[in-house]
């Protein structure tokens, strides 16, 4: 495979689930968004796949939005059956040249959620699915826990 393939496999990934904010405050229902950031370091990002899961709180996924870079601006692949559930796998790729791909930290998707504001603070879990693999085929099974609204940004390197 090309170098882009290898780069995807060896990404120094940083996930961040941040910038969550309340959109509607008229009832007990709360609409929020969670931005998914991915940091490929100085390597172009060609493809990604990850799993987002709400581990606490009555949270349902209501929509998925694309990222900030043109290469990933379209909504990623996801299973429509994941809507109104608490778990989704999103994935996307781009076969363009490196010059047209994002590098470094970039928002690859935004997940729209709804939940009961009277419930406990939602907690999210973000993990690679399948686990990222190094060029040597080793798997990295680390996953990240994401913070909820109002908290500081939570990022963790998966190197």
């Amino acid at each position: 495979m090309s170098v882009w393939f290898a780069w995807f496999m060896s990404l120094a990934v940083v996930f961040g689930a941040v910038a969550e904010s309340d959109v509607t405050d008229r009832s007990a229902t709360r609409f929020t968004t969670v931005d998914i950031y991915l940091d490929s370091g100085d390597m172009p990002l060609a493809a990604y796949q990850l799993q987002f899961k709400a581990t606490e709180g009555e949270v349902k996924i209501v929509g998925i939005e694309g990222g900030e870079h043109d290469a990933f601006s379209e909504p990623p692949y996801y299973d429509p059956e994941a809507i109104q559930r608490e778990r989704v796998i999103i994935a996307a790729f781009n076969t363009s040249d490196a010059s047209q791909l994002p590098a470094g930290r970039t928002r690859v998707a935004t997940i729209h959620l709804t939940g009961d504001r009277r419930n406990v603070q939602p907690q999210y879990q973000l993990s690679t699915s399948p686990p990222l693999r190094t060029p040597q085929g080793e798997q990295d099974r680390k996953c990240l826990r994401c913070r909820t609204p109002g908290s500081q940004r939570h990022e963790k390197s998966m190197q």
């Binding site: 060609a46 996801y78 299973d79 989704v88």
Partner: protein, 164 residues
């Protein structure tokens, strides 16, 4: 030149002299006299030897056939029943639908691999026709991507966006 020299050195006639040939022929006409006692003794000895020896050998062989067969059966039974010693059946590698890179899992990299081949105008393996429509195109990419992100098992009918 050399051929002619060789012919000259070989005898033209390889036949025996007539006199020698007649004498040799005459020697075969006579019969050797064997006394009846000797003849009978030779026949008896031959009969005894060839008539009894095979019988003994056959009996010895039959004596061990039973135990050998029984031991073989017991050994085979132990071999099959013993954990980890039974003949290992070679299981065919399960074919995972959408596993374009054949690493045993279906993920976005499978769709990525197909898309790269299509974009490059290269010929794709026939096995990549995952939607079985007779051609390998972006629809196959979508099918594989749908399988990769499936959380419900209804991956084939996924819609939603996709990067190109």
């Amino acid at each position: 030149m050399s051929t002619r020299d060789t012919r000259q050195s070989e005898p033209d006639d390889l036949h025996l002299p007539d006199e020698l040939a007649e004498r040799l022929s005459a020697m075969q006409d006579g019969r050797v006299f064997v006394p009846p006692d000797v003849d009978r003794a030779v026949l008896d000895a031959a009969s005894e030897y060839f008539g009894q020896e095979p019988a003994v050998t056959r009996r010895l062989w039959l004596r061990y056939v039973g135990p050998i067969a029984a031991a073989a059966m017991i050994g085979l039974g132990v071999w099959i029943a013993w954990p980890g010693m039974s003949p290992k059946t070679v299981q065919p590698k399960p074919v995972v639908r959408g596993d374009a890179d054949q690493n045993g899992t279906v993920d976005i990299l499978d769709a990525f691999a197909i898309a790269r081949v299509i974009d490059a105008g290269q010929s794709a393996p026939p096995g990549w026709d995952f939607n079985a429509d007779g051609k390998i195109d972006r629809d196959d990419v979508a099918v594989v991507a749908g399988l990769a992100v499936s959380v419900s098992g209804k991956a084939d009918e996924r819609d939603g966006g996709a990067s190109s």
